[in-house]
């Protein structure tokens, strides 16, 4: 008797979201199958996307082997962004760490001007992360949204504490939002419910927080997996958004990644591969060699 493999079909579809404008735009999400389940009925119209991270200031705590690929551009975010393009990225993720009151508390105006400059200098869409300070980010991200009006940047983190103000600015100026919640599926859904009361769900990307291998990665894995299952299998509208896994920074903070380069690349690579298998749609990495490693792995080269 012939064996016939079961084929699943689901009702839920992850919203397909476009970031960036015109020939700089990029589509993420859109799948109605579970990650890499190409044997089921349905499709995953957009492959996993990759961004490299850059900072708005010279990094202070990066190990030597993480600085090395960027040494000549590390004090110049515009040049740094251009250099990243050469590594074959789908997007650049700019972190406005210097705006953090605990770092340099640099002003919102300056940050917004830099974002505009970087966005104008590259040919791929730009992701912008504020410092995560819930108060300062209202000022910084609102200014960024305003100065970059109409560029459809992917901007976050939009938090439970500031979603009204930050969401409003992102909406008014035609951008896409990253809704971030602290590794908790109930809080994640709650934020999406509240945000989507005035903000189109078609312009929300979920950041569930990504922990590194050995530092809680399994929590991120389970959470991403569950968000995808609930969205695709049970058609819960408030989890049917693409997921961004911002993991580069988390991986390179670890003792193991700092110790030596090979370990660092593997740490970041294993974390990224795992979260992609869980269902991440776009991952933010730090090291260009990790990027190459992951792409080769996915393409089975």
């Amino acid at each position: 008797m012939d064996y016939k493999a079961p084929v699943e079909a689901y009702n839920g579809v992850v919203r397909e979201i476009t970031i960036g404008k015109g020939n700089k735009s990029l589509k993420i999400g859109g799948e109605n199958i579970l990650p890499f389940h190409f044997f089921d009925q349905g499709s995953s119209p957009n492959p996993a996307r990759f961004a490299l991270e850059i900072l708005d200031m010279k990094p202070e705590d990066w190990p030597e082997h993480a600085v090395e690929p960027y040494r000549d551009v590390i004090s110049d975010p515009v040049a740094w962004a251009k250099k990243c393009q050469g590594f074959g990225v789908d997007a650049i993720s700019l972190f406005l760490v210097s705006t953090d009151p605990a770092v340099k508390n640099s002003p919102a105006d300056k940050a917004a001007a830099l974002v505009r400059e970087v966005a104008g200098a590259i040919d791929v869409p730009l992701i912008v992360y504020g410092s995560g300070d819930e108060v300062k980010d209202v000022e910084v991200l609102s200014k960024v949204a305003e100065v970059c009006d109409g560029m459809n940047l992917l901007i976050g983190p939009v938090l439970k504490e500031n979603y009204e103000a930050v969401g409003k600015a992102i909406l008014e100026h035609g951008h896409t939002a990253i809704a971030q919640s602290p590794l908790d599926i109930n809080l994640l859904k709650e934020l999406n419910v509240k945000l989507s009361k005035f903000f189109p769900a078609e312009r929300i990307v979920i950041d569930p927080l990504s922990s590194a291998l050995g530092y809680g990665m399994e929590y991120s894995f389970s959470l991403i997996e569950r968000v995808k299952q609930i969205g695709i299998m049970t058609k819960d509208s408030m989890t049917m958004m693409p997921i961004i896994a911002n993991l580069g920074g988390e991986c390179w903070k670890t003792k193991q990644a700092k110790e030596n380069k090979k370990q660092g690349l593997l740490w970041e690579g294993v974390t990224a591969m795992s979260l992609l298998l869980a269902g991440a749609n776009i991952v933010v990495l730090r090291h260009p060699e990790t990027l190459r490693l992951i792409k080769e792995t996915i393409q089975a080269r």
Binding site: D184, N186, K194, D236
Partner: protein, 295 residues
């Protein structure tokens, strides 16, 4: 549905102060109000009662019995306080509670036998809280067998599957679903046993104004599956109306939702929509968030 009134509870500051200062008025008022509201038992939850357990419990039981003829549920993990409480009861009380833990089997179950009372037995064991329906059943069968051997009959055993908050990150809904299933099969596994739950814990950690809705809907759902009693708030009028049969349409709506019938939300009043949405959360069909009524 037997309602065990939960309001005399040491976590309430007014109650702990009243016990410490021998303020009988506060205790009498709570006992009277719950009696008038239609409770079937009055629970006296005194916690571990580390100081003067005998004197305190003796006073409390006496004070409550001055104003109510209802039987009492003596709710403490301190065996000395427990014995003092059981000894002072005029009506046949409920020992609340024992479990499959070694200490509890050694101290609490013999007290239930000695005072010939009913006893709540939870699914807890020395290994902690059993994580799923199968392990809950396994552990309660062991403890009930042990209780039977001591001479306590199934009819006097009120099994408690332990209700946990539905809002517990990611896991809460798994617990609410497991307990619905547990209550459904309990009678087949252990014929004759009764059951009870600490109902209000299901809504712990949820915004205050939303708690009664979860408590109420969950009780209706558990009742459909055969729950015998609940430690709950008899002063919650909606909950009592549902249990006393004066809201049959609402109860039916919740039952239909549980049975997977297609309930058209657009034809319903807002309050009814809330019952349906809440039932779907508690049966694990919709992912929980504090904004579950809003999506």
């Amino acid at each position: 549905m037997i309602i065990i009134g939960e309001n005399i509870h040491v976590i309430a500051k007014a109650v702990s102060t009243a016990i410490r200062e021998r303020d009988a008025g506060v205790i009498r008022d709570l006992a009277r109000a719950q009696t008038e509201a239609g409770a079937d038992y009055i629970d006296l939850n005194v916690g571990p009662m580390k100081r003067d357990p005998e004197e305190n419990m003796h006073w409390l039981v006496g004070t409550v019995q001055e104003v109510t003829d209802l039987p009492l549920s003596i709710d403490t993990m301190n065996p000395v306080a427990m014995e003092a409480g059981l000894k002072g009861c005029k009506k046949r009380p409920l020992l609340n509670s024992a479990s499959g833990k070694t200490d509890s089997k050694g101290q609490m179950l013999p007290l239930a036998r000695k005072y010939n009372c009913s006893v709540v037995i939870s699914v807890m064991t020395d290994k902690g809280m059993p994580p799923d329906v199968d392990s809950k059943i396994e552990s309660i069968m062991d403890t009930v067998t042990y209780a039977n051997e001591l001479g306590i009959s199934n009819e006097d055993i009120w099994v408690d599957p332990i209700v946990l908050p539905v809002s517990t990150a990611g896991e809460g809904q798994r617990f609410t679903v497991a307990n619905l299933e547990f209550i459904k099969i309990l009678g087949d596994v252990l014929p004759g046993v009764k059951s009870t739950v600490g109902l209000s814990n299901v809504s712990n950690g949820v915004p205050n104004e939303l708690r009664p809705l979860l408590n109420c809907v969950y009780l209706v759902m558990l009742a459909k599956n055969g729950l015998y009693s609940a430690i709950a708030d008899p002063l919650d009028k909606e909950l009592m109306s549902m249990m006393k049969g004066s809201m049959p349409r609402e109860v039916e709506l919740i039952h239909k939702t549980m049975d997977g019938e297609d309930v058209s939300l657009s034809a319903l009043a807002q309050k009814q929509v809330h019952y349906v949405k809440t039932a779907k959360v508690l049966m694990g069909e919709t992912l929980y968030s504090d904004a579950w009524l809003e999506s």
